[in-house]
């Protein structure tokens, strides 16, 4: 980096900080009692010092001064990479699987709870990944299917006493039907029009859940939903529930993997890349798009049924737009269309707020900031899918 460029960066940093001060001061400093500067300068001081340290570090790193420190790290990275590339995939998977299986033995309750959340979101993320990552349909109301799944299990088990294992496919089936209902009128729309319509559908489902007292008990939600049982063994403890969702997640991962490399998966990708061309090549876009909605919804249905069993309670608060946005964020952040990417995205977005729990009130602030930052650093996601065509300008 030349001195001129470096100067430019420092200037940009300075202007940014100045701008930040201008934006911050009115919020903190103007009070009915008069103008005040102390508070603002304190907050600004922290931010400025942090920014300058980061800048300094960045400059030093760019200037190559840190190479000495980086070299061993890079060597280790290289060694790991070499080892990773030599190891057959099945071995890596076996290690991951083994870790997942013994996980509850090593950890406490809270970690189980977080792990369960992660796995639930893995199912949701992979389901949404079919709709958005493979078929390229932007869906902002995905959480509605999750809600349908959850309420299906809750109602079936309470009113008809059906077991969890029987309800699991039934929930998925109902969610898939909901997927088709939502999918049908939206098939003619594209892009952002689709986004707002799916958002609208998601809201409609939530409002109905909140208001149809006779069926859903409205805002009170449904209480005392039974936990799953098998041959008289009840999955009462958190760690046993962990194994249930682990099983569901593995089934989901395998099915999505198979779908991904099937004829249908290729057809979806064709639709994503160029719908008109796909149609001209004889792909039945109408049916396939509907199928994408239905398949995506199916996995959300599984996750929903589990969610109801795990919480023993379902209420409409769990199925808001923000939740849809969260799942969407996981998929995009991880890397659309790639299974490990989605899993990484879920890990990042579920684990981060939990890690930040210590920050209390600053938790969501940091979360939002990190989300933007991650997109700026890796716009294609943490682990982009291989088959997604790389845009030339993104190449490194």
């Amino acid at each position: 980096m030349t001195i001129r460029e470096s100067k430019k960066k420092w200037l940009a940093c300075g202007v940014g900080l100045l701008w930040f001060l201008i934006l911050l001061w009115p919020m903190l400093g103007i009070t009915p009692d008069g103008l005040e500067f102390g508070n603002t300068l304190k907050v600004f001081g922290y931010v400025a010092v942090a920014a300058l340290i980061i800048m300094l570090f960045y400059q030093v790193q760019q200037a190559g001064r840190l190479e000495a420190a980086e070299r061993p790290l890079k060597a280790v990275g290289g060694a790991i990479q070499a080892a990773y590339e030599k190891t057959p995939t099945w071995m890596v998977l076996a290690v991951v699987f083994a870790l997942a299986v013994i996980y509850p033995l090593l950890t406490g309750r809270y970690a189980h709870d977080v792990a369960i959340q992660v796995l639930v979101y893995v199912c949701l993320g992979l389901g949404l990944n079919i709709v958005i990552g493979l078929a390229g349909l932007l869906d902002l109301g995905y959480i509605a299917f999750y809600g349908v799944g959850a309420y299906t299990y809750a109602l079936m088990s309470l009113h008809f006493g059906l077991s969890f294992w029987l309800c699991l496919p039934v929930s998925a089936f109902f969610a898939a039907i909901a997927g088709c209902i939502i999918g049908y009128p939206t098939l003619r729309m594209r892009g952002d029009y689709l986004a707002i319509v799916t958002l609208g559908f998601g809201e409609i489902v939530r409002i109905i859940l909140n208001n149809w007292m006779a069926l859903t008990n409205g805002p009170n939600g449904i209480l005392s939903i039974p936990r799953p049982e098998i041959f008289g063994y009840s999955f009462r403890s958190l760690s046993s529930m962990y194994y249930v969702i682990l099983g569901i997640a593995i089934v989901t991962i395998i099915s999505v993997y198979r779908l991904n490399y099937s004829r249908i998966g290729r057809a979806w990708e064709a639709i994503r890349e160029d719908e008109t061309a796909a149609e001209l090549m004889g792909v039945n876009t109408f049916l396939l798009k509907l199928l994408a909605y239905a398949m995506g919804a199916t996995f959300a249905g599984f996750a929903g049924a589990f969610f109801a069993a795990r919480m023993k309670f379902v209420g409409p608060e769990s199925f808001t737009f923000l939740e849809s946005a969260m799942v969407l964020a996981m998929v995009i952040l991880g890397g659309m269309g790639s299974i490990p990417g989605v899993i990484l995205g879920v890990l990042a977005l579920v684990a981060l707020p939990e890690v930040f729990r210590e920050l209390e009130l600053y938790r969501m602030l940091v979360f939002g900031g990190v989300m933007t930052l991650m997109m700026l650093v890796r716009p294609a996601g943490i682990w982009p899918a291989k088959r997604v065509g790389r845009r030339s300008e993104e190449a490194e």
Partner: protein, 240 residues
């Protein structure tokens, strides 16, 4: 500026779309007042050359000199005010602006309202068709009219150097001839023209000198007449 310094010069310019190198070291010179044609097959890098000059595609290395000054990295939006103006491939008129508004956009950086008004009249004289259509939306014009509008819009900035990309594309032969006549007319008013064309025959007939591009390299440069006479060229680009 003496006659020896070219008004526009490229020295060993390399540019790339991501990892794919599009220009592998182009050097060319354009002197004040001439018409220079750049010919070549599809994908030879002709349009990329113009886009690189205007900094839409970033030059990775090499120098782009305009009036002897290095203009690498100068913002695309600054160049028209310096007298360097491009009519890009596919015309790219603003479809939901009227013809008059399109022309106004051409003179965006200019602040002399009366001068702009005069120039509108001047280009209407040059392209009388446009005067009839001045209140129509750009997107409703026919292909030939759009080409005329694109050129007229470029003229609104009173360019010193006009970069013309494929003005003949998709036009009927009669129209093509008309367009080339106008190019010569513009040139005779003192505007230097760089003409990128697939229609090598017409382009070389109109130009004083020519460059032949192949896969991102200049493979030949000469007077237009000599290029026209070159049997290799005739075989490769003129279909003989």
């Amino acid at each position: 500026m003496d006659d020896k310094t070219p008004i526009l010069e490229l020295k060993n310019v390399v540019s790339a779309y991501g990892r794919i190198q599009a220009l592998k070291g182009i050097s060319l010179k354009v002197y004040d007042g001439e018409i220079v044609s750049i010919i070549g097959a599809n994908g030879a890098g002709k349009s990329t050359t113009l886009m690189t000059i205007c900094n839409i595609v970033k030059a990775v290395s090499g120098d782009i000199l305009y009036k002897g000054k290095r203009i690498n990295g100068v913002g695309s939006d600054v160049l028209p005010a310096m007298g360097l103006c491009q009519v890009p491939e596919g015309r790219r008129i603003f479809p939901r602006l009227t013809v008059l508004e399109n022309l106004d956009m051409g003179a965006f950086f200019r602040t002399d309202a009366t001068g702009v008004k005069e120039d509108v009249e001047r280009v209407f004289d040059l392209f009388p068709k446009l005067r009839e259509r001045s209140r129509q939306l750009g997107g409703t014009l026919s292909g030939g009219e759009q080409q005329m509008l694109a050129m007229a819009r470029a003229l609104m900035s009173r360019p010193k150097v006009l970069l013309l990309d494929e003005p003949s594309m998709g036009l009927a032969p009669l129209l093509v001839k008309q367009i080339f006549d106008i190019v010569k007319e513009i040139n005779s008013q003192g505007v230097t023209v760089v003409l990128v064309e697939q229609n090598a025959n017409l382009a070389l007939q109109a130009a004083r000198r020519g460059y032949v591009l192949e896969t991102g390299n200049v493979v030949m440069e000469d007077d237009a007449a000599k290029l026209l006479a070159n049997p290799d060229i005739r075989k490769a680009y003129l279909g003989e």
